[in-house]
Amino acid sequence: MNRINKLFDKKDNILSIYFTAGYPSLNDTNYIIKTLDECGVDMIEVGMPFSDPIADGPVIQNSNNIAIENGISISLLFNQLSQIRTFTQIPITLMGYLNPIYQYGYDNFINKLITCGIDGVIIPDLPLSDYKKHFKSSFNKYNLSYISLVSPNTSEERIKEIDSISKGFIYVVSSSSITGKKSEFSKNQIEYFKKINKLNLSNPTIIGFGISDKKTFNSACKYSNGAIIGSSFINSISSVKLNESIIQFVSNIK
């Protein structure tokens, strides 16, 4: 069991926060992780910026651009994360598009995940077949979680296939949309959440995309084991008052 599995074993209503590495300032990564942990957030997704994030809305696009301008890269991020396990045991996943990982080298990437103590990855544009070919055996050996998305258009058969390959949790994309689109859940969305629950998947589920406040967080938790907040968090943090803005944001949710 890794930290993700342990968390889901003992807890429900999991609050996971996404932020973009290198944003607002280049070296904020560890500070943000530490502060989120201290505020009682359950899990963290660290975004690895990419120049062309096609599944992301304006807020995350913008944080990606600024982070890249600030000089973030995967190798710098791993330098930042190298001491992370000396001060926190919060489950951490890395999320990012495939090209920067491909340039970094899949084996290098996996080695760094292990040495830094990262628990899992979310790579939205990695096909299952490429995961099986390049990642799966190391992921199994080192107990890393591979987390896949499912969307309202994912067929039942495919959800089951994804479930059989995933280890950790399934990332349920709340609607057919890119990140950052906010709205209350519609009847159709709730039907879709219920449908997924009925499948009795072997992995727990987390709902993400468009979760922005206490209300949407709570209703997501009704239909899953927790929720991920990204754009709304990024929008709310301020580089001058980083500490206060993080504490404020989390206390508004919990």
Binding site: D52, L98, N99, Y102, Y104, D130, L149, N153, S177
Partner: protein, 392 residues
């Protein structure tokens, strides 16, 4: 060596479908249906009908006498500039909109660089009575004004892409985001042989009508159906894919793709992907890509909006990698001069994209050889750029 796509959607190491899950069902639907639809008799009947009666095909294969004399060669021009809307792009949009109808889609989106694909898409949407949204980089909206207005006259909605370099790459990102947000009733007409499988293959098949015609047209004037050289400019690579298509396995034919060198390879203000790029993943496919050492895609530059793209289609990446094709870059200056030369020698003002393909005769051993150049589009949309350039 096999040059065409394999059953997994790859050209050698290149291609595939690297897409987020939100697009999976759309791509899967296309993938499961495109071949059976395209290969149906009723479909090809309709497709051929519109190509003939609406687009004006077959386009002539014209012997360029004065150009040939100048370069001591036999140069034929495949006149895609005479297609309705002024470029090869409409071959693909006719095909895709008929396919979209078969799939019961109600709305069309597209990206555009030079505006030629946007115009070709807006045109077929008007023809078929479908709603049309076109994404175009803000920079390109500025430099291709006439095409922007043409699209609007045709009833399309233009949405500016304001991220990144504000050119074709960013317009493509925005179109993909739109598709993620509207997966059910919308078909995305990609304008080149790029994107996730099956797009590169599907677009190449629709464009392959170009080389299908060259086969018999050349046979009528030469005593063989193949040339020694085929030249075509390469942005994403659709006009090149179309004119290479039926010659991919004929090794007697040298396939030459011409990329935009911009201000010159050394300056990095360039869009010469095979020279400056390496393997990477963008817009759903593994291909050659201009990027920095961290895998961030770099912003390309070319005077021609249609070649201003940091990648190339996976077919071309494979042709380059396997050395079946040769790829040469031509900078802004030489392209403009070649465009002016073609205007004076043959009375044809080419699109600036196309002009790139006319700037390499000196760099190839074409003396007394049969050369076919794909004249992919006409220069009407580029008049402002020609005027600014001056020197005529």
């Amino acid at each position: 060596m096999k040059y065409n796509v394999n059953d997994k959607g790859f050209y050698g190491d290149f291609g595939g479908a690297y897409i987020p899950e939100m697009l999976y069902s759309n791509i899967d639907e296309l993938n499961k249906n495109y071949l059976s639809i395209i290969e149906e008799d009723s479909f090809s009947k309709k497709f051929n009908y519109y190509l003939k009666k609406y687009v004006g095909r077959p386009t002539p294969l014209y012997y360029a006498k004065r150009l040939s004399e100048k370069y001591n060669s036999k140069i034929y021009l495949k006149r895609e500039d005479l297609c309705h809307t002024g470029a090869h792009k409409i071959n693909n949009t006719i095909g895709q909109i008929l396919l979209a109808k078969e799939l019961n889609k109600k709305k069309i989106i597209a990206e555009t660089g030079a505006g030629q694909h946007g115009v070709a898409t807006a045109t077929v949407c008007a023809l078929m009575g479908m709603k049309c949204v076109i994404y175009m980089g803000e920079v390109d909206i500025e430099r291709q004004r006439p095409n922007v207005e043409r699209m609007k006259i045709l009833g399309a909605e233009i949405r500016p892409a304001i991220s990144g370099s504000k050119t074709l790459k960013d317009a493509t990102n925005e179109a993909m985001r739109h598709w993620i947000n509207n997966p059910d009733d919308t078909h995305y007409i990609i304008g080149s042989v790029v994107g996730p499988h099956p797009y590169p293959d599907m677009v190449a098949r629709f464009q392959s009508v170009i080389s299908e015609e060259v086969l018999y047209q050349l046979d009528e004037v030469e005593d063989r159906n193949y040339p020694d050289y085929i030249l075509a400019c390469v942005g994403g690579g659709s006009n090149a894919a179309g004119i290479f298509y039926h010659y991919l396995d004929n090794k007697k034919v040298k396939l030459i793709g011409i990329e935009a060198g911009g201000m010159g390879i050394e300056t990095k203000k360039s869009a010469a992907t095979t020279t400056l790029g390496n393997k990477g993943i963008l817009h759903g496919s593994k291909t050659l890509l201009m990027q920095d050492k961290n895998g961030q895609v770099t912003e390309p530059y070319s005077i021609s909006a249609g070649l201003d793209y940091p990648g190339i289609g996976p077919l071309h990446a494979h042709l380059f990698d396997s050395k079946r094709g040769k790829y040469i870059s031509v900078d802004d200056n030489d392209a403009m001069n070649a465009g002016l030369e073609l205007s004076r020698l043959e009375g044809i003002i080419p699109a600036i994209e196309t002009a790139h393909a006319f700037a390499v005769f000196d760099r190839l051993e074409i003396k007394n050889r049969v050369v076919v150049v794909n004249l992919s589009g006409r220069g009407d949309k580029d008049l402002e750029t020609y005027i600014k350039w001056g020197k005529y």
